[in-house]
Assembly symmetry: D2
Homo-oligomer: 285 residues x 4
């Protein structure tokens, strides 16, 4: 094991340095404890009514955490940029109403302190995976951090980004595979599920998967969700919207509440299968 | 549906033109009938003893077909190029001994007629996915064809390659996702499991997955095998070798027979789960 | 032309909206005025002596601007992170001594105001191309901005990033192609010179090329520099170090002062060729 | 130098084994002798009249060789597949009329012997770069071979493909960079001009560049042609068609004869510049 430590440029995130898998607590929920975590919600917080209503539905379907963007990194300066602090306020109200911990993206060090007063977990988006001042700043908080893989980041670069956070003292990092950029145009990105067993091998941090961005087309999201869990992911983060066709962002990849409900049934059934197999597997071990 | 036909450049492989999923018969085995097909064997046929021995073990573990390379496309002209017709002869003997149908790669039109006398299914490798004279030639046979996706082929180009085969009259085509080339270097290729639901949506042909080439490292193959099935693949093609460390090619990604046995147990357990869920799912449908 | 405006998501950077090419003034130097601009300097400012000495040599070779990193975005938290404000101070002293305007990277909004007191042009690095809070902040200054293309940014995304800056009121943007990430491993990145004529066609902003990062190996830099100019680039940005083998960062891709001197001779000769041909070309026009 | 031989998997194409640059003779023309070779012609041979007419025009503009496809590898089985042997016959007539040597693609070993009776140089297309039976077959002829780089081939894999040809006894290989597949969609492919100095460093074989396929849009071809020569390429291969808008294939990337004429003027002017500089350069050497 020491050989692996010696060869890799990361130390604190290296599994060799910490063989036991890390479990990250967000509110009262534990990520990486062996049962799949499901984070769900709309791409953007659009209004108070929208987020309170969807949170209630997600809660009833069995989601464990609520996601929603208040600060939106958009390719165009003319696109909806999010409600900002007002959006965080609505998320907090949704947590109050449902008990679901909330995760939301922070894009710069300036808005981090205010955001930390509202949210339970800080999301670092793909575009900011190598925003080192921001990584250092979240590393100085005690909040759990959902660190998305950059669009063209190697697994090693991604783990080095996590290392920046741990190196500041915050080891509550959850990695999130969300698709990489390739030549393929049939899907929005190429979800790299290879990353799941590789990351599990190299690091002790939990990893979840975002099939909504990874494939970018709602009707393919359930299949890729199940594939992510079968690859060994610790959970999923999914976009769900009441009326995807009128969403202010990412409607094409959002599930409806009914589709989410059906997917949750499958996830729960799969979790039971995993448990039964793990017991049975020991018969052959 | 007619709109989809109109928009896509492929006609015969288009699901709109043939809504029912195609089931391809290889020997007495059916690919795409709802239960997962497992094809296994060494990268290269190395000797008569090797292939007869491994075929027997694979059979006992529950494999449905035997793979083995007799003509090997190698990056270097100085690398082992396969046993040629002698390798096919050994494969046929293994089929005789075990009853497993055999699949092997053919690289040019010249060796196709002789190969067809031995093998049950013709593999077209990734490097030859757009070798149109070869596609036309296999299209004129009645043999099932395992068509691997090219290293940097879009899904549309891949389906167009299948269209070449169907256009010659042979509709026994099985697609095989085997990883695409990206910037990531932690794995040999990037297995694109997005392709599974996309292909299922666009075409009626069955699709299997090759996690051995897709990830390239044996210890990650079981996780990616399960992920492929969960994504909806009709089967797997896996490299298995008695002693991977001495294999003449691709040892790094080959499972041992014991690892294969354990993976088969998991595959069978998963198939049972799928069946049980599909029944239960109808309760919510 | 109005059709092009209508089809593209960018407005202010669109050449259709501003047919004349923009010339950006940095100190007393003009970028995009028809003669090639050469920006040169070490990857990192390492000491006062180093930067004053190299600035003097570059000035004598004919460089037009001095580059040097004070804030360094490094993949590893354990690598040299730059001298910070002290580095900017040394750069300013080098400008005083040589008259060369200075360009240096800024990584976050927090350090921007202080940096603006020292530098003549702000570099936005590849990792921050979609750091929207930072783009907005530099858009509110009046400083020229050198906007590097992201590692996996499409040309359209890059122009949209420039649009963020212009949309805040700062139209002094110089685009910089620095190589994209592909599967090729023989070079550090793949310098995408196609981007030069494409950008010239789509936008009125000047574009320079960074062959040091684009190819990543010093002995290939002169060839790619000449190729960039022949493709129509308005200039080059080059890494030069007194002793590349002991550089604190990017030594492998840094030219020595002598290599830089020889390249400048070629650049100047080529500029004269261009002028003579443009005159002669009108004979055939 | 022997160290380089030891580290690289190619031997015969390795510059260390053959420090002098190889000059390949095609008809009476020499490729790699220091002055740029220009190969031009339509994507496809469409008719006798078309090819005789364009050949005459290209000859008058100063082209050195004529290209034209008789066997066309097309993504769709429903697209024009070329005139076959009839097309080769017309090409031979064009050679007779103009004295220009002719180069045309061969796609399989079956049609190679007949093609060799007509053509002066055999083109191996990008899709067949790793078609090893075909590489071996052309290696057994004495014809010059134009070996295009595969769409996602590393430089090393490309040189290994050349090694297959040399290993059979034919060392008349001209490499051809024609763009690689990346995520960028503004251009058809990404012309990798980095490959030019890298290939010149690693091997003794000449290299030419195909900007028509590399960028895929006619108005960007002249800029990329000049960039290729400035990077050190030994020549260009260009698509030219009398009426690109009615071409049976690749019209979007074809120059008109007038555009080709103007480009040739620039190429000739540039060649003179190179010569003058090389003389002058020795003053500083």
């Amino acid at each position: 094991m020491s050989k692996q430590v010696a060869n890799k440029p990361y130390k604190l995130v290296n599994r060799s340095a910490h063989p036991e898998s890390t479990v990250v607590r967000v509110g009262k929920h534990f990520v990486g404890d062996g049962s799949p975590t499901v984070i769900a919600g709309p791409c953007s917080v659009e209004s108070r009514e929208q987020i309170l209503d969807i949170a209630e539905q997600l809660k009833q379907c069995g989601a464990h955490m609520l996601r929603g963007g208040a600060y939106k990194p958009r390719t165009s300066p003319y696109a909806f940029q999010g409600l900002g602090i007002e959006g965080l306020e609505y998320l907090a109200q949704a947590r109050e109403a449902t008990g679901l911990p909330i995760v939301s993206e922070v894009m710069d060090t300036g808005s981090l302190p205010a955001a930390c007063e509202y949210i339970d977990a800080i999301q670092i988006g793909a575009r900011n995976m190598q925003n080192y001042p921001l990584l250092r700043a979240v590393g100085k908080t005690t909040k759990p951090v959902l660190l998305k893989r950059g669009l063209s980041a190697t697994i090693e670069e991604w783990l080095m980004a996590a290392e920046y956070i741990l190196n500041e003292g915050n080891s509550n990092v959850i990695l999130c595979e969300r698709g990489i950029r390739t030549f393929e145009t049939a899907t929005r990105n190429t979800l790299d599920l290879n990353a799941v067993p590789v990351v599990k091998d190299l690091t002790h941090l939990p990893i979840i998967v975002d099939p909504s961005h990874g494939v970018g087309i709602a009707r393919y999201v359930p299949a890729m969700s199940m594939a992510a869990l079968a690859a060994g992911a610790d959970g999923l983060i999914l976009e769900v919207h009441q009326t995807p066709e009128t969403a202010l962002s990412d409607g094409q990849q959002s599930l409806t509440p009914l589709q989410f409900h059906q997917l949750m049934k499958r996830v729960e059934h799969y979790a039971a299968f995993q448990d039964s197999f793990d017991t049975e597997a020991s018969l052959y071990g």
